[in-house]
């Protein structure tokens, strides 16, 4: 082999070549990263859209649950400002009311669809995948048009976006082009010929606007969803465990299309539990969406776990044993929880979840149980519906830990949870942060 001699000229050539490659690489990268600035348009009027398109768009927006992320706590609908905590820092949702200056009032239909499919703002900036455009790009054209019509006919609100607080250097948006190169490959939804119309409709809604796997799938180090056999094997959202939907999770009872429909519509299923944490707003939206859409989603999601057996080993209720091993927890349960959660309590006669089957007590992590105890939750569908008060003021972390340990040993056959006191302290600290 000829030995390359690093003469000045060779080195120079290499250096020049390397620099050129870098420049070409950066240039190519920037070329990919650069997206054009689309022209603004005068805001459309309600009369520009047929009424059925507006109804359709409203129904789809309920599935996509745009309002939840794009509305701040106590804020005006769709005006943005909600803080979204991610492993990469805090993002603030944008104003998607048709305000020309601070919202999307000047966006054309094309600009909107580019945002929803490619994650690019009207002015060409890349959008963080907190907006789940990896899912929204699966949505059909006509449906995106309808959502556009719906959003452009909301009342315009002047509310400039808050600055994101991301870990350096993730604030540099062009980097997202690289992320998209690696992870943004999803195609528009195509129905499966071996499945019926309702299943396909449900799959279309869930994979597209519903973006269920956005919470219910694990994510890789770059924050992209894991796919293949990992899809729907469970994830975490805002500190709550989003249980597996593909049958690999520890839920005591398998979901059926009917039970899932009831859960999504009413916020509670007697064998799985109540919709708490981020599922609350999901149920809020789905309780108002057209019934057929929700049935379809339920059919599809239930099918993901169709392989597993209907019921795991018999639902456990080992009250006497658990009282022996966790006497402190048993006393706490009797005084704090039994009024709702013990056999003979009125809630139990009225179809509320039985703790012997609720998913939260079967999960490997205690997070959902601890959060429910410390934070409680509101009825997701409106003023009526299952709710739970917060016990943060009355129970200490040690007491929450005792209680959770008791619950685990009484209502689950699975291994005891560990580090419960730490889990409680973490949740409590999160709550107290403004």
């Amino acid at each position: 082999m000829k030995r390359t001699r690093w003469t000045g000229r060779t080195a120079g050539r290499w250096a020049a070549g390397g620099a050129l490659a870098c420049i070409v690489g950066i240039g190519a990268f920037l070329a990919i990263a650069h997206r054009s600035d689309l022209p603004t348009i005068p805001p459309p009027k309600a009369t520009d859209f047929p009424a059925e398109m507006l109804s359709h768009g409203a129904a789809l927006a309920a599935i996509g649950d745009c309002i939840v992320c794009h509305t701040a706590d106590g804020g005006v609908a769709y005006a943005g400002g909600r803080a979204l905590a991610t492993p990469f820092g805090t993002l603030y949702s944008t104003n998607i009311t048709p305000d020309p200056e601070s919202g999307i009032g000047g966006w054309s239909k094309e600009a909107f669809k580019r945002a929803m499919r490619d994650g690019v703002s009207r002015d060409g900036r890349h959008l963080y995948p907190a907006l789940p455009y990896d899912h929204y790009r699966q949505v059909h054209d006509g449906d995106l048009d309808a959502i556009y019509a719906f959003l452009m006919t909301r009342p315009p609100v002047s509310a400039p976006a808050k600055a994101n607080e991301l870990v350096f250097p993730l604030g540099f948006r062009p980097l997202l082009a690289g992320w998209k190169l690696l992870f943004l490959h999803q195609e528009e939804f195509a129905p499966r010929p071996d499945r019926d119309a309702e299943w396909n409709h449900g799959a279309y809604l869930a994979e597209g606007l519903g973006h269920c796997s956005g919470c219910h799938s694990p994510r890789n180090i770059a924050g992209a969803e894991k796919t293949g056999s990992d899809a729907y094997s469970g994830g975490v959202a805002e500190g709550w465990v989003a249980p597996a939907l593909n049958g690999s999770g520890p839920a005591a009872v398998r979901w059926t299309a009917d039970s899932l429909f009831t859960y999504l519509r009413t916020g509670v299923d007697g064998r799985h539990g109540a919709a708490a944490g981020p599922m609350g707003p999901v149920v809020h939206g789905l309780s108002r969406a057209p019934e057929a859409n929700v049935r379809a989603i339920a059919t599809y999601i239930a099918s993901l776990s169709a392989d597993r057996a209907p019921t795991a080993p018999a639902a456990a209720d080992r009250a006497a044993e658990a009282a022996r091993t966790n006497p402190a927890g048993a006393a706490l349960f009797a005084g704090a929880c039994a009024g709702c959660h013990e056999n003979g309590a009125p809630m139990m006669t009225q179809g509320r979840p039985d703790l012997s089957t609720v998913t939260a007590l079967q999960l490997d992590r205690p997070d959902n149980a601890v959060r429910a105890i410390l934070q409680g939750f509101h009825a997701p569908t409106g003023p009526a519906g299952p709710a739970m008060p917060s016990f943060a003021a009355s129970l200490t972390d040690v007491q929450v830990a005792d209680l959770a340990a008791y619950l685990r040993s009484r209502f689950s056959e699975r291994p005891a949870w560990t580090a419960l006191e730490t889990a409680a302290a973490t949740v409590r600290k999160e709550e107290s942060q403004p």
């Binding site: 006393a331 706490l332 005084g335 704090a336 009024g339 008060p389 943060a392 003021a393 009355s394 007491q399």
Partner: protein, 167 residues
């Protein structure tokens, strides 16, 4: 079993089942009338007391869980002869109809004022949300809280505090 609790600054050693909700201990063992049974389910707030300064449902708090912690009831805010500021404000506004919810309202409101001496209307309403009133005394309760805020600030308030329009 003996459980020792501290209520309104005084210690009480009681022979009770530690699972007993604090509400029944307060009412039956200590003969304090303020905290009331409204639902026993943590939904109405008629049983509201303070535990270490935070409002809590005494109907869902096992007495064993609050041994060694500071419990405060409406009796601890003042008496008919020497009412506390908030109680005076409620008296002036005649903020009660049947009055069953009022002790819980007072404790809930006191917790807000302890934390934030100058809340705005939206903050008051959001804070009081946990407590139910069936007689419709809400407007007077809100006026009484506003009056108490003004009294604390030393602002002169007229015979009936001005009614604010919600923003």
């Amino acid at each position: 079993m003996t459980v020792t609790i501290t209520v309104n600054g005084a210690d009480h050693a009681l022979d009770v089942d530690p699972a007993t909700p604090l509400l029944y201990v307060l009412r039956d063992d200590l003969e304090l009338n303020g905290a009331k049974y409204g639902c026993g389910l943590g939904q109405c707030g008629a049983c509201t007391v303070h535990i270490d300064g935070k409002p809590a449902f005494s109907c869902l708090t096992p007495v064993g869980a609050v041994a060694g912690r500071r419990i405060r009831t409406v009796e601890g805010l003042g008496s008919a002869e020497a009412p506390g500021l908030l109680q005076q404000a409620f008296e002036t506004e005649q903020a009660a109809q049947c009055g069953y919810c009022i002790a819980g309202m007072l404790m809930r409101a006191q917790a807000l004022l302890d934390r934030n001496p100058d809340p705005d209307e939206a903050q008051i309403r959001a804070h009081m949300q946990t407590n139910l009133c069936r007689c419709g005394t809400h407007m007077r309760i809100l006026r009484a809280i506003r009056r108490a805020v003004a009294m604390r600030k030393g602002v002169q308030v007229g015979a009936q505090a001005a009614q604010e329009v919600r923003p």
